[in-house]
Symmetry: C2
Subunit: 115 residues, 2 copies
DNA sequence: CTAACGTGCAACCATATGGTTGTACGTAAC
DNA sequence: GTTACGTACAACCATATGGTTGCACGTTAG
């Protein structure tokens, strides 16, 4: 059985999401395609690297669910997926909650000391 | 000159933050040490891998600013750093903003069509 | 003082990652 | 129909990553 967290993502899916975001080129592709969809070759033209390299970056993003690819004639249209961003935010939110609960426990300790 | 984004982090710093979060063991260390600080060997005892491996994971997290390490006798106390989590959230917020601004532009288009 | 503990670090290994070039193939344009 | 375009994919390479073991060294306990 695959372990899933509260957000409904497996550990592996979370790994892929953060891994995909850990590269400047890929973050830029997400930014671009969230604002306005683009074909793979259109994206490739924007970076100083081979078409195949950009193609790989898009594949990594697609594997993480951060973008989707839709065939359109001979082109593949890439669109940023805001849902995946939301899921990543949800993950970070949980860390903040843990931190807050720690603060609460510290407050409890102080309250006890006051008694 | 190092390029910095609106959050005040260089591209490289952002890479390190997401890279550090792209590993289940490291995310677990962050969770643990956000809730309650722990020594490196205490952490090492919690995972089925060598002390050195855990030590490396802590080093990666420290390099990303996600945890801090404080000497205490012969131990090193590891604490999760909630500020770094907040910065990562700030980054994802910007993506959401881009998405929203896209929606706004689409709304504008529709509004024009309605006229 | 000596033994045990906690840590840091180097060397090593297998695999993953990020890039390249080259080839093949469907689609569009002429 | 032929040519050019957009994409996919394989092979290859250098480097990064995630793990190991072994050793050195400061600190604490007996």
């Amino acid at each position: 059985m695959v372990v899933r967290n509260a957000i409904g993502l497996s550990d592996d899916e979370v790994n892929r999401i953060f891994r995909a975001l850990a590269d400047s080129t890929r973050r830029d592709i997400v930014r671009r395609t969230l604002g306005r969809e683009a074909s793979v070759s259109e994206l490739a033209g924007a970076y100083d690297m081979s078409f195949a390299a950009v193609q790989k970056h898009v594949a990594v993003l697609e594997g993480a669910g951060l973008v989707t690819k839709h065939p359109n004639g001979r082109e593949r249209i890439v669109r940023g997926n805001p849902d995946a961003i939301g899921r990543a935010q949800g993950l970070l939110d949980r860390y903040e909650q843990i931190w807050r609960s720690r603060i609460d426990r510290l407050d409890d300790l102080l309250a006890e000391t006051d008694e």
